[in-house]
Symmetry: C2
């Protein structure tokens, strides 16, 4: 499934290729997030035009609405949403442990109340894999226990025990035709727990490995540690996926640490706040200083928004709450994340990744507000 | 500016062509409404793909936000919003008399408070024409007094007196290069007042003539009367525009009464309520009965939404409040209105308009709720 094409001599950055029945994905890759069966504000044509090769869907959300019967009747998620390229589905573990109100953690899953209507639901390895089988995703994720970043070592150890046991149960479930399954490593930012969990999960022999328990509100240093403590125990010849990350500069640093796959709600979520990502960091397009700025969001950017509209016009649209404003910022931000990945692939291939990394991270000024937004899933609820 | 190509033998329907410096417009034509510089939820590419040849912009709204300085600085409205084809601008008369809180009607205009922030503003013939000159629209409208449909005959007579006097003042104002100016006929549903106003406005010699004082909450019979009482007094060789109308079946009936140009917020407004227009009338896509309906909104429709998505998926999107749902219904509804106009043009050309009219109007079941929505501008406020 995964072909390792090149490794950067200056870092752990890798150039690779994931092959699925629905298409080939060059890595490092960014996967736009289509939580409820739509990458927020974008249509499939726009996604393909900006170079999207794989999107993410959410088991937890799709299972609640529209519900599995509808998607089964449609012939799977791809046909339901009219997306012909690969889809990776989350298992719902993250949402159960962050969005839902948990009633009881049991041996084979979690009893919880829907964040939406309070309905009593149950999700465990068997259920999560069955849902993903019906969704027909190209890559399914195991159902894991994802503790908050404030968890004690003892709680993290318990989460690992469950995560490993549930991963084993997921491994045994039937799959959709051509469906790969990735294991998830938990362990917080603790070296020992990450190593223990990684070894146990890798021993189960999955098609790829994800680092979970990041993007749960932890500071950036802890997030980087979680990745650094995990990567050494993952096989070279399989894809590595850091879940729910990150800002553009973080993506570069995570690629440098050996990660191949990413998903994050930041591009579309921040767009809906009127903020755009650029190579120099985020900029509030909604802000008054753009009111007669006739430049595009970012000079040289080739996205649909930058080819067609000025900051001044986009600022006006956001100001008067026209949907086109949110749409165009979502286009630009998603394109920007995909472009950073394409640039990294080109630089790893050309042997110039070290230079690119230094320059990109040096120019990118992170915004505290945006960093805080990354962990917002826990407080914002059902949004994404 | 206007070429009358053919007149239908069975009715007053006309095939024509309006020529502007920015493009040729085949009539009868529907003009999507871009009140605040954006046809709600749509981008310029989508508009052109569905065959839009001219859009509408609003003097009242654009003058408040972003304000004239910004649009002047952009080089006009076309460049500000990146729309290369013709734009018709409303004069603001309708909005001043419906949205704003009027403080005082004076000899040369109206002092009113902005619906948005209560700022004291003044709009009259001079101001409305100056704003439209800066906007640089291809077709500007005169500033008129648009009374509600509940106005007494005396009030209607006063409105006509002002409308005619102000039209004369508008006639004398400088114009943008290549800009045409249309007069507006008021007079409610009264035959005598319509005739009087039409004759006086036509005597001022404009480039085209609009029927105003419709789409102000009146019943359909009164609206039709207003048109029937006006059309006989309009010159054959100039375009006729019925302002703010209507449902698809009304458009067909109005074309049959000799109207060439239309604008209406219904396609996009109704879309945002989760309702789609079809040849058989409106249908609530949001309704539960669509939850596993795998047909497109309308069989045989060639719009982007119908080519790509099922009712079931669109229903899900609307249900979970995904922006793509509103977008796709806006695409379908706008496309549907443009298609009805294209069909009418083809049938007038082929000499089969009578048959088309009978069949279309016979099949179209009007919805009371949608008819009520048409007059909603007066109660909904700043929306469109």
């Amino acid at each position: 499934m995964f072909e390792l094409l090149k490794t950067d001599p200056s870092s752990k950055a890798r150039l690779g290729r994931v092959t699925t029945t629905r298409g080939v994905i060059d890595t490092p890759v960014f996967m736009p997030v289509g939580t409820q069966g739509s990458v927020k504000a974008l249509d499939p044509r726009e996604l393909q035009e900006m170079g999207t090769k794989i999107i993410l869907g959410n088991t937890y959300h799709l299972n609640i609405r529209p519900g599995l019967d509808i998607i089964r009747d449609a012939g799977g998620l791809h046909r339901f949403i009219n997306w012909p390229l690969p889809i990776l589905t989350d298992s719902g573990g993250f949402q159960v442990f962050s969005l839902a109100s948990i009633r009881k953690i049991k041996a084979h899953g979690v009893e919880f109340r829907s964040h939406l209507d309070g309905n009593l639901l149950f999700l465990g390895p068997k259920e999560a894999m069955e849902i993903q089988r019906v969704l027909g995703s190209d890559i399914a994720m195991v159902f894991d226990d994802c503790p908050p970043h404030t968890a004690t070592v003892r709680e993290v150890k318990e989460a690992i025990e469950r995560t490993v046991r549930w991963a084993g149960e997921c491994r045994e479930q039937p799959r959709a035709p051509g469906q790969s399954v990735f294991g998830i490593i938990q362990g917080g930012s603790h070296a020992e727990q990450r190593e223990e969990c990684a070894k146990a999960i890798v021993a189960l022999n999955f098609d790829g490995y994800a680092i979970g328990g990041v993007s749960v509100g932890e500071p950036e240093t802890e997030m980087m540690k979680a990745v650094e403590h995990t990567v050494p125990f993952l096989p070279e010849n399989q894809p590595r996926y850091a879940m729910g990350l990150g800002t553009p500069a973080q993506l570069v640093e995570l690629v440098a640490r050996g990660i191949d796959m990413f998903d994050c709600v930041l591009p579309t979520r921040v767009a809906r706040n009127g903020t755009a990502f650029t190579a120099k960091g985020t900029v509030s397009i909604k802000a008054g200083f753009n009111k007669s700025d006739w430049r595009p969001i970012e000079e040289g950017c080739e996205c649909f928004a930058c080819r067609n509209f000025s900051r001044a016009y986009l600022r006006h649209l956001l100001n008067v709450e026209e949907i086109l404003g949110l749409r165009m910022l979502s286009v630009h931000n998603s394109h920007m994340f995909l472009k950073v990945m394409a640039d990294m692939r080109a630089h790893i291939a050309a042997g110039t990744f070290a230079e690119f990394r230094r320059e990109f991270v040096g120019n990118y000024i992170p915004s505290e507000r945006v960093l805080a937004t990354r962990g917002q899933t826990k407080v914002r609820g059902a949004d994404e």
